[in-house]
Amino acid sequence: MFNFKDVYLTDYFIVAGPLEKEHDVKKCDMYIDDYYFGEKTVEDAEIKMQRTVLNNLVNSNTELIIGGDLTNQLTALGSSTINKNIPVLGIYSACATMSASFLTLAGFIQGKFIREGIFLTSSHNLAAEKQFRFPVEYGAPKPYRSTFTATAAVGIKLSKTSSKIKVVNGLLGKVIDSYVKDVHNMGAIMAPGAATTLVDYLNQSKTEVKDYDLIITGDLGSTGSEIFKEILKKEHNIKINNHLDAGAIFYKDFEYAGASGPAVLPLILVTRIFNNKKYKKILCLATGSLHSPVLVNQKHSVPTICHAIYLEVV
């Protein structure tokens, strides 16, 4: 458990894709109407999305950029930060990359190594599909339990300077074996990770579920959310009424379980939660499935991880 004393969330910038615009993710700073964003390839489009975010956030006070995405070798981050003249640290925890980079950056600020930094996560549906699944134009039938990678790049600035949103504490999660080998069922893969981290967090912080206004999970989707609640009820006797899954909000008319990707949770946090006066004490559980296509082909089950961050909105 890491306690932060003076780490604040001061600014953010979001670039979201065309489907996100259609599916009720309003109030983003910028939308792209075309998956290629004026570039030749989808990889270049993701790089340009990240670069747009950075161009709008980086200033002379920025001392560090931490981030990650879903592409191999963190392709997008590696190229979007070229010639920015700022130290960069790449992190990968699949869809939990958001909370992993959040906690790392908060640690740097709390440790007084830096005063201000940015963390950045992105995912591009077509780039991720190409890498993890099938070619983009291939109409591989998707089952109802599958999730759809969102297209968005989100940059968030953390600083010592006080602001409305305070980062109170956080917990880095442990890697759990989900026993699930079905890569379509990302919700079932990530649910045990989310439940384990939540229980660990509650034990270590000596709090209860009802102490929070909202417990928001990353991208469990509708299937994963139900499994998550069932694990908590069956295993730990915890009943959870203030839960919301960021991924399950998206793409309801698609007959999928929801959205996935490292940008889903920050997207919903920034556009829906922070400006809602109902939510003051927010516990974020960004879940990640550490899915390696190679190991899945070799009949391994998929491990999962989840990191927790507790934020207070004043």
């Binding site: 070619p135 134009e137 291939y138 109409g139 591989a140 039938p141 109802y144 026993y179 299937t223 139900e226």
Partner: protein
């Protein structure tokens, strides 16, 4: 929770696929494709005076061309998602898999991209198709000779 218990729980909460509806859709689409193909073949034989055996090849070429064109135009994947095996099992599925791979990797170099990945999906159809054909041919020889 142990492995067995958890997988049981996952099964309970995972939404079921509508298999019967999918099979019906695929049956309908596959049947329609076959019906049109046969009609087309008759027309080609009648109007172009091409022998039946060659007319079959012409129908296949037309199907491959249309599936590739529609993939390139960007709406064939939606049809495949809807009709599933009705479009995947016929030759349209084969053309679709190759064209979609080609579109994905066209910017990654002629050798390292296009050449290496063109048969990413269709490669297994070729491999196992040829192996199956080999054994079936042996079987045919044993039965008929």
């Amino acid at each position: 929770m142990n492995k067995k218990e958890y997988l049981k729980l996952v099964k309970k909460f995972t939404p079921k696929e509508k298999k019967l509806k999918n099979a019906f859709n695929a049956f309908l689409m596959g049947g329609t494709l076959g019906f049109i193909a046969d009609g087309l073949k008759c027309l080609i034989v009648k109007w172009a005076h091409i022998p039946i055996k060659e007319a079959t090849t012409w129908v296949l070429i037309i199907y491959i061309f249309l599936a590739s064109l529609f993939t390139g135009l960007g709406f064939f994947d939606k049809l495949v998602m809807k009709f599933k095996c009705g479009l995947i099992v016929p030759i349209t599925g084969f053309a679709h898999s190759i064209t979609s791979s080609a579109l994905d990797y066209k910017n990654d170099g002629l050798i390292t991209g296009l050449g290496g990945y063109l048969f990413r999906l269709a490669g297994c159809i070729l491999l196992y198709g040829i192996i199956a054909a080999f054994f079936l041919a042996i079987l045919k020889v044993i039965i008929y000779v």
